[in-house]
Amino acid sequence: MDVLYFAWVRERIGIPREVVETTAATVADLVAELRVREDRYEAAFVDLTALRVAVDQKLTDFDAPLKGVREVAFFPPMTGG
């Protein structure tokens, strides 16, 4: 699936998007897989309360299932307006 990063999450991980091969059942499982990959992922995901997630471009939470999902995005709380 496509995994996208925005704002300081993108900066910490160093790339805006990547394709991740995963069998993770939920967003939280995917985060756990990414965190053990490299320090830059750990740095981005160290505090999940500071992060928001969208699945297929819909805001959701870390319990959201990933079955059939094409795109997951991680980012800090939004600051529009």
Binding site: F6, A7, W8, A73, F75, P77, M78, T79, G81
Partner: protein
């Protein structure tokens, strides 16, 4: 209803006039405009706004649709810019049209409260001393509970 996520500047007067035209049954038009504010102690060189193409438009459309359902609105407009802006530049505007002013005022405030915390935009402030992502404010999240 019109949603525009765009890099170029918009013309507030022309957008407002165009929005107001053709609504003969609407007695009230409310507009709000957000402007890049300079920082008092550390002058702002620029504000950079990042967004999530695709999701941004869909999120704004959903918020505007909610407002149209919740209040008696004849129309709604949301324009939000991204990219690099300097102090004094307009970041975004909303406009609402209703038969009577209360619906238009309330719906405009609702649109603002929701798009601040639920539309995928992130602001970064660039000064001579630093470059910092703007932190979300707890008050902005709390504002949603009021609705």
């Amino acid at each position: 209803m019109r949603i525009s996520v765009q890099e170029p500047a918009f013309d507030l007067g022309a957008e407002t006039a165009s929005f107001a035209a053709g609504h003969r049954d609407m007695g009230a038009i409310v507009t709000f405009t957000g402007i890049v504010r300079d920082l008092p102690d550390d002058p702002l060189q620029a504000m950079e706004i990042e967004h999530y193409p695709g999701m941004t438009e869909a999120a704004l459309r959903e918020i505007a649709q909610d407002a149209m359902t919740r209040w008696s609105l004849g129309d709604a407009l949301v324009i939000h810019r991204f990219g690099r802006l300097v102090p004094g530049e307009m970041i975004m505007m909303v406009a609402t049209a209703s038969r009577h002013r209360k619906d238009a005022f309330e719906a405009a405030e609702y649109l603002m409260d929701y798009l601040k915390s639920r539309a995928p935009f992130w602001k970064r402030e660039i000064t001579a001393k630093s470059t910092d992502w703007v932190a979300a404010r707890a008050e902005d999240e709390d504002a949603l509970k009021w609705w």
